[in-house]
């Protein structure tokens, strides 16, 4: 599978309402307590109306992997997930700075890099933020699908404009 086919969790800013349920669920899924500092997905609200959840986008040539001075981070060829070798990682945080999306942080207890693993530890492999998002703003998708949707949306807008011109 090409890397473009790797699936990651993407949020739709039109749908996201900033309720932070994804943060609650992520921390709970991983650590059985509630604390956004333990969440691999974080919400940003910019007043008055912008809300968006951000998590690892499984970049091509991920800057976090490049930045790691101890080669603790690797990207899975198969899934695109960033794996953290907890023995190698010393929590220096170069990866945190390198990530353009703030999608990596340092785990408050383990003091090692913490990043979305798409809930691959679960038998059902279902990312829990996606499962719980009440707005269906989160989805497990890939760049090909997102690109397709972008093309379709823009052409539909053209179509709509053309129809309106005809009728009115």
């Amino acid at each position: 599978m090409s890397k473009a086919g790797h699936k990651f969790v993407s949020a739709d800013p039109d749908k996201c309402v900033g309720c932070r349920i994804c943060e609650y669920v992520c921390a709970f899924e991983n650590d059985k307590v509630f604390n956004p500092l333990r969440s691999r997905i974080r919400v940003v609200r910019i007043y008055p109306t912008i809300n968006l959840s951000l998590t690892c986008r499984l970049c091509e040539d991920p800057p976090c992997v490049v930045a790691c001075p101890r080669d603790a981070l690797t990207q899975s060829e198969e899934t695109g997930i960033i794996n953290v070798d907890e023995d190698k990682c010393n929590g220096c945080g170069w990866c945190v700075e390198a990530c353009d999306f703030g999608a990596i942080s340092i785990h408050p207890d383990e003091k090692v890099a913490m990043v979305c693993d798409l809930c691959s530890h679960r038998p059902d492999k279902k990312p829990q933020c996606v499962e719980w998002c009440p707005e269906e703003a989160l989805e497990l998708t890939n760049r090909d699908i997102l690109a397709q949707r972008g093309r379709l949306d823009s052409v539909q807008k053209l179509l709509k404009a053309a129809l309106e011109k005809e009728i009115f």
Binding site: C19, I21, K32, N35, R38, R45, T49, N51, W132, P134
Partner: protein, 622 residues
């Protein structure tokens, strides 16, 4: 203990000295959280009978046991102090992100006493609690202050509860604002912060919140989330939002209009939830851990106020709209935005302006008083200008900033007869003349005119009872509503999902989160205990039966038109309702809880407050 942070924080504002006390499990179970904790702490930490602006009036912030967990709508927090509007219980609730942050900082209760020597804000950074200089923030709006504090402290995720110029100027309807458009709006608690020189409380919390039964809670939340995000019982809040009430209440002739001159508004369509959503709502946002989300963010698309954004629920819409004879929503949105920025209660502001408009039209105040504003009903620009004048205490705004009760006493000349308040707190959006169960709920509400302590309009509007009649049994209905809402306000849950909860379910989530044994019956009893505790507090501060009153208009001016035409609440009817309610409560004819009732509820410690014995005066105090 799970769920609870397990600590009470005391802050001495003059010195910045702090101490903490553990929260005991017995205390937690008896008073639950939110309102139960707040009323109890106020009783035990406030000198009886003091002036609300006295530095010794404690300001208390409280979260509930669920805050910081994924229990739906658990992000709420509350504030308590003796109210500068009513001189009775001051309490208010807000949502957003602040409450969960305070819990993570490690506190269930924060008691702030005294007055800061200079303008300051309190920074609660987990275990580190310090007073910070706020001289550069004094005079700034709530929005500017929140942004500056985050900038100063260098952390975007810090949450801030803040006052604007309203609180600084001791406007008696001043609010506390958090997350920009969420407010502890009622009973003037922002002015208490102002009197304390306390500009804001900023919080950063990094502790984990643990729960007793993680798997049980998760399962329960899955059910609740599904009902809240897709179920029929919350659909109103998810779609049109509370402004759907405009047309419903207008059709029922229960929409307070032009300072209670009418109960129907000819411009209702233009200020309806339908119209608002079609023309102004650009985004519906959610609060922490809420799968229902109801924050309808409205933006004015054109004209001089283009780009103005405000969250518009029904109550401010009613107050700044129909109550002022205003059918221009951009006026409502702009005035609401100013209320949030200056930190004044948007409901109170609208009710006060409606009162002032009637004064103006009757010639009791004129353009000299208003600073040239043509303060007639329906003048939406005047509403916006007066909102600013109230917050800044300019011209007649200085007098109106005292609230309708005090303003009408000063203006006199019959204006008391159309001042719309109960216990000094301005009325809210249900015309009580044709909603008689609801009228009782308002009359006895512990924080003054209020729909949020009982929600008894539900019985009247659903047709479950004859809303134009008084009869035996209404007292019990209101009592049950109040006790139920006392638990909503203690857990603290959002009442917009009230149809999903009964006492058993409340007890279930309480057990799942805290691990403390609790039954539905015990929860019910706790609700009754908390409501009685509030009564004890108010009695201690001087409340008598005559304070359980209704505004003169409700009792003297029959509804002029619509399906409720001719309806009003007579003194005889009010007395009948009060008697029925006091009897249902097990209170005396004077509205005082009996010794038996106090014993039954485990409130014996407060016996001497309500049944004074001359030889013993001291009350229990921490």
């Amino acid at each position: 203990m799970h769920g609870y942070a397990g600590r009470i924080l005391y802050v001495d504002l003059p010195t910045g000295a702090t101490r903490t006390e553990p929260l005991s499990e017995g205390f937690a179970k008896k008073y639950i959280g939110g309102s139960g904790f707040g009323i109890k702490m106020l009783l035990d930490n406030q000198e009886p009978g003091i002036d609300p602006f006295d530095p010794a009036n404690p300001l208390i912030y409280i979260v509930g046991p669920l805050a910081g967990t994924m229990a739906p709508t658990s992000g709420k927090f509350s504030a308590f102090a003796k109210s500068p509007e009513s001189n009775f219980l001051g309490e208010g609730y807000s949502t957003g992100y602040f409450g969960a942050e305070l819990k993570r900082a490690g506190y269930d209760i924060v008691v702030m006493k005294g007055r800061c020597e200079k303008p300051s804000y309190l920074f609660i950074d987990d275990d580190s609690v310090q007073l910070m200089d706020a001289s550069h923030l004094w005079g700034k709006t709530t929005w500017e202050t929140e942004a500056l504090i985050r900038e100063d402290l260098g952390d975007y995720y810090i949450r801030v509860a803040v006052i604007g110029q309203g609180g600084e100027n001791l406007v008696r309807i001043a609010s506390i604002i958090n997350d920009r458009n969420r407010a502890i709006g009622r009973t003037g608690l922002g002015a208490i912060m102002g009197a304390k020189n306390l500009k804001a409380v900023a919080v950063r919390g990094t502790h984990d919140i643990t729960v007793a039964d993680p798997d049980g809670l998760k399962e329960h939340c899955l059910e609740l989330y599904e009902e809240m995000s897709h179920g029929s019982k919350t659909v109103k809040y998810r779609t049109l939002g509370t402004p759907a009430n405009v047309l419903t209440l207008n059709a029922a002739a229960a929409l307070p209009t032009r300072n209670y001159q009418s109960a129907t508004f000819e411009g209702a369509e233009r200020v309806s939830g339908e119209y608002l959503n079609e023309h102004f709502v650009v985004k519906i946002q959610g609060c922490s851990a809420c799968p229902m989300r109801c924050s309808h963010i409205c933006v004015i698309p054109e004209g001089p106020w283009k780009g103005t954004a405000a969250r518009i629920p029904y109550e401010p819409l009613m107050a700044l709209g129909p109550f002022c004879g205003n059918d221009r929503l951009e006026g409502v949105i702009k005035a609401k935005e100013l209320c949030d920025r200056y930190g004044i209660d948007a409901i109170g502001t609208g009710i006060i302006i409606g009162f002032a408009m009637e004064c103006f039209e009757k010639g009791l105040i004129d353009k000299k008083d208003t600073g040239g504003i043509d303060l007639r009903f329906g003048n939406y620009e005047a509403i916006v200008e007066m909102t600013e004048k109230i917050a800044l205490r300019q011209d007649v705004g200085d007098l109106l900033a005292e609230g309708v009760k005090r303003a009408s006493e000063k203006i006199g000349r019959g204006s008391e007869e159309f001042a719309s308040h109960i216990k000094g707190v301005e009325t809210t959006g249900y015309d009580l003349r044709g909603l008689k169960t609801c009228a009782l709920g308002y009359a006895v509400s512990r924080r003054g005119a209020d729909h949020q302590r009982h929600g008894s309009y539900g019985h009247d509007l659903s047709g479950e009872v004859d809303r134009f009649k008084v009869e035996k049994g209404r007292g019990k209905l209101v009592m049950e509503d109040e006790d139920n809402y006392s638990i909503f306000d203690s857990l603290i849950l959002c009442k917009f999902n009230r149809r999903l909860w009964d006492y058993d379910r409340m007890a279930r989530i309480y057990r799942e989160v805290t691990g403390i044994p609790m039954t539905g019956e015990e929860m019910h009893k706790a609700g009754e205990r908390i409501t009685n505790l509030a009564r004890i507090y108010n009695i201690r501060e001087g409340l008598t039966r005559k304070d359980d009153h209704l505004p003169p208009r409700v009792m003297k001016l029959p509804i002029p038109s619509g399906v409720a035409k001719g309806s009003f609440v007579s003194q005889k009817e009010l007395d009948f309702l009060l008697d029925d309610y006091y009897e249902a409560r097990g209170w005396t004819k004077e509205g005082v809880p009996t010794q038996e009732k106090l014993k039954e509820l485990g409130l014996d410690a407060y016996m001497r407050i309500v049944h004074k014995k001359p030889e013993k005066k001291e009350v229990t105090r921490r």
